[in-house]
Symmetry: C2
Amino acid sequence: MLNTKEVIIVEDRFTQQLKKGILEMLVLQLICEKPTYGYELLSRLKEQSQNRFVLKEGTLYPILYRLEDDGMISAQWQQGTGRVAPKKIYEATENGRQENVRRKRIWEEFSETVTGFLTGGDTK
Amino acid sequence: MLNTKEVIIVEDRFTQQLKKGILEMLVLQLICEKPTYGYELLSRLKEQSQNRFVLKEGTLYPILYRLEDDGMISAQWQQGTGRVAPKKIYEATENGRQENVRRKRIWEEFSETVTGFLTGGDTK
DNA sequence: CCTTAGTATTTAGCATTGCTAAGTGCTTTT
DNA sequence: AAAAGCACTTAGCAATGCTAAATACTAAGG
């Protein structure tokens, strides 16, 4: 591509609010799958969601710090190999894995309830 | 029931955050189904969700005001019939109905994406 | 050589939304 | 007389995602 600009999709308030809680869950899920560092998470989120979860750094890193503060993940700095900048590698703790399972269960039940609510009544 | 006290389920941060945006969507949906007033919405939410969306008034009314400010619903005071306190009846506007349809679409796609994300990778 | 883009992390400050808590006023039940 | 129910209002807090910008180093292009 000559022009690397991307189409900017202005997200409305609704869609933005839907993400509350979800992003942290997805990040935890990805780290449970395999140890990773922040910048890589950005691309994994983007790709695995078909461009639906395209985060800025300012969104992701605070999530990582929260998960770390809450004991869900642990971090260690990886030495800069050769000239590659050092990365902060995160991996899930035992607590984190349990919490991840719990959240998936809650999400499943929650989303089913909501969908049932919306389709049960039918606006017409 | 002699004792009307209910078991208090302390909700964790995660579950609370999941509701962001959702409650407003559900309220709009209910009003689209038929004109209603605030207090009745509380019970409809509670029943139709099998006790999963049990709101306090302080949560619901601000939602109604927002929906009204945004032109999704319109309100009119119903005269107090006899000795019954006057109620503020809300009904959906044309904009509200369109937005409701749009939100349902967004929710459907969103929830499928999230579920796919969580089941695709499998934490093992 | 200088500029742009890419990798990688950090931080400040704002907007939105749900929550608790409390208050008003009237009616019905105990 | 007190408690509980109906019905609406408001103040203030907590949590999370967003924008924007800064730092620092490497690689590529004109």
